[in-house]
């Protein structure tokens, strides 16, 4: 497997070298996304084939991706035409990016969500990249559960209080808790805590990890947990308990709800995560397009960005790699059920008035696992093992500060940008 990959890489490098040497008629699209062979091939055959011009789509692992961009900048010989990567990847090569404010102006009719356009400035005044595609985490519900919604609650604009009341109603009706979270060994509970709960209650992930707002949040979540299915600590992919009927309402990554929507499209609905006092905290997984400084043919690169952000191309991309559009687009009818069910919820969540986006942790390097552990442990101690909230938060805040200081990671949204390591209050 790995030797195959190596051979592929070598072959790819050889092709690239030949291409770059020959002419600049072809534009090199260098990407950390759509890396699996099948997805890459679909990108070439189904997405990029429609572009008026030759594109060399070249997916790459994160490490070599950064190395090559940096090396080309240092050598002053840039061959890359377009960069495709996750939001969290770009800060590492920010110095090599050409500001794209002029390109953004030409894309006014795309109606890209202001939230994403703002994120793509990377804390500067200029557009560092153009939003390309997105994935995220959502709520899913069995239609049988909708009758237990509390009075006056809109499933598409829930608050955490209403979710708690809903969970209680379901528990009373069914005789057992029917709300579930992916808190198992392979579940993504830490993303819920980092990207949904903390931003919704504290407008912070790192800086206000402890403090009054955080204590209120944990107390509220502990109350809610009384109506949560206790098997949650074993759930990894919520599509499974949703399909078995063990839970009716669940939170998870779109890719981990997919089977439920595809297998029983008439049984399930998707809707945005609830909101708290500080807004609707949510964690978009945004990928963007950027142009490196000194690129050989900027006009064509810009044309390629314009092509990739066209509604039709965004739908082709959705089919090819399963990432949702970032532009305003009417989804066609022949998409797989999971997209038809999830798509509107993804859009509603990102464009909600009180949306408070939080990003994947940035700049932690290989400490990402330890960072997640801080949140997992806090959850387990406070909610599952009934430990004292303040004591646990104080202790975990110390551990959090050690990791942030060690890696020097600056703050990311929703925390305010910092010059040095992100402060922990």
């Amino acid at each position: 497997m790995s030797s195959n990959r190596l051979v592929n890489k070598l072959a790819l490098s050889a092709v690239l070298a030949a291409v770059c040497g020959a002419a600049s008629a072809e534009i090199v699209f260098y990407s950390t996304q759509a890396r699996p062979l099948e997805e890459a091939q679909k990108m070439r055959d189904e997405v990029l084939a429609g572009f008026d011009g030759e594109v060399q789509f070249s997916p790459q692992e994160d490490g070599p991706f950064f190395t090559r961009i940096e090396a080309e900048q240092e050598a002053g010989e840039v061959t890359l035409g377009l960069l495709g990567a996750l939001h969290g990847d770009f800060p590492q090569v920010q110095a090599a990016l050409d500001p794209l404010d002029d390109v953004m102006e030409t894309l006014a009719d795309r109606n890209i969500s202001d939230t994403f356009v703002g994120l793509a400035k990377l804390g500067t005044d200029n557009q560092q990249y153009i939003p390309w595609m997105q994935a995220t985490y959502l709520m899913a519900a069995n239609k049988d559960a909708l009758q237990y919604l509390p009075d006056g609650a809109d499933v598409n604009a829930l608050t955490y209080d209403q979710l708690g009341q809903w969970a209680k109603n379901m528990k009373d009706a069914a005789g057992e808790p029917k709300l579930g979270f992916p808190a198992g060994p392979k579940g993504l509970m830490h993303r819920f805590l980092q990207g949904y709960l903390y931003p919704s209650f504290t407008d912070s992930v790192v800086t206000d990890f402890r403090g009054e707002k955080a204590e209120v949040m944990w107390a509220a979540f502990k109350d809610l947990w009384a109506h949560v299915n206790p098997r949650s600590t074993a759930f990894n992919f919520m599509q499974e308990p949703l399909l078995s009927g063990e839970v009716w309402v669940a939170f998870d990554h779109t890719a981990r709800l997919k089977d439920a929507f595809d297998q029983k499209p008439d049984q399930f609905v998707a809707f945005p995560a609830p909101a708290g006092p500080e807004g609707l905290g949510f964690m978009p997984v945004v990928a963007g397009l950027a142009i490196p400084k000194g690129t050989p043919d900027r006009a064509t690169s810009v044309k390629l960005i314009q092509y990739l952000t066209q509604p039709e191309t965004q739908i082709k991309t959705l089919r090819a790699v399963g990432f949702y559009p970032v532009v305003d687009v009417q989804l066609p009818d022949d998409l797989p059920p999971n997209v038809k069910i999830g798509g509107p919820a993804v859009a509603a969540q990102a464009s909600a008035e009180n949306a408070n986006p939080s990003l994947l942790p940035v700049g932690l390097g290989d400490k990402g696992g330890l960072f997640n552990k801080i949140y997992q442990d806090a959850f387990q101690q406070i909610v599952i093992r009934n430990a004292d909230v303040k004591q646990i938060l104080d202790r975990q805040a110390g551990a959090l500060k050690r990791i942030i200081d060690e890696t020097g990671a600056p703050c990311w949204a929703p925390d305010d940008p910092s010059d040095g390591p992100c402060p922990v209050n």
């Binding site: 060994p185 098997r231 400490k367 696992g369 552990k373």
Partner: protein, 283 residues
Amino acid sequence: MKHDEWLPYLLLAPSALFLLIFFVFPSIDVFLLAFQNSAGEWSWGNFQLMGDDFNFGPAIRNTLLLALAVVPLQIGMALAMAMAISKLNRGRDMILYIWTIPLGISDLAAGIIWLAILEQYGFLNTFMFNLGIISQPEGWLSYQHPLTLFFAVVIAELWRATAIVLVILVAGIGLIPKEYAEAGEIFGANAWKRFYKITLPLLRPSLQTALILRTLLAFEVFAVVLVLGGLDLPVLMGETFRWQFEYREAGVASAYAVLILVISIVFTLFYLWALRVPEEAQG
């Protein structure tokens, strides 16, 4: 003549070399890693991190309790099964094969089988619900029911790993000459007396082997617990795995590995001492 002397060593060499390269060297490496910080300096930092962790205490407690509950039960059951088998004339092999089926199943698969039986919508709950014994399926495998969770793991471990003890004991019983039991019978010893005074003492070397093997494996219990208990029942091996692959702290994972090694050595020495065969009885 000379040829015969070194032939055994020659035949053993490949396996010894294999173990040296793929077992001894990595073990030494892990051992050294446990006592170094990320900068490569000597330090107790990894053990401090390990000891400070919320899951450390529960992991030690659960692992020891599991071993204490599982190993004696398995030895008792395997002894009874081995004695029963040794009395059979017909169908002995067939029963032995059936009893050792779990040996051929990986512990992860064993965990999944028992999960399918014991989970809220599993076979057991469905069965009892349909018989009207319970009014609705109960979720027993959760942090709210630590005792049933613990017993679920005990049951799965009994099912999965009693066979290895059984095989060792059946072999051991086969080595005991029939004459002793016949002599005992002639002198009027009843079946219990023959078991206590003849079989059990003569079975001591096999018991020692079985106990050491089973106890060491009990300290490494992992997949069954992971499947049935998730994060609700931390054990030493599970923590080792998580520190290595989820938190990416090889040093702390190594510290756990060293801890498991130390506990294993202590128990092995204890068994060697407690079940030593008296010198005068050694053949």
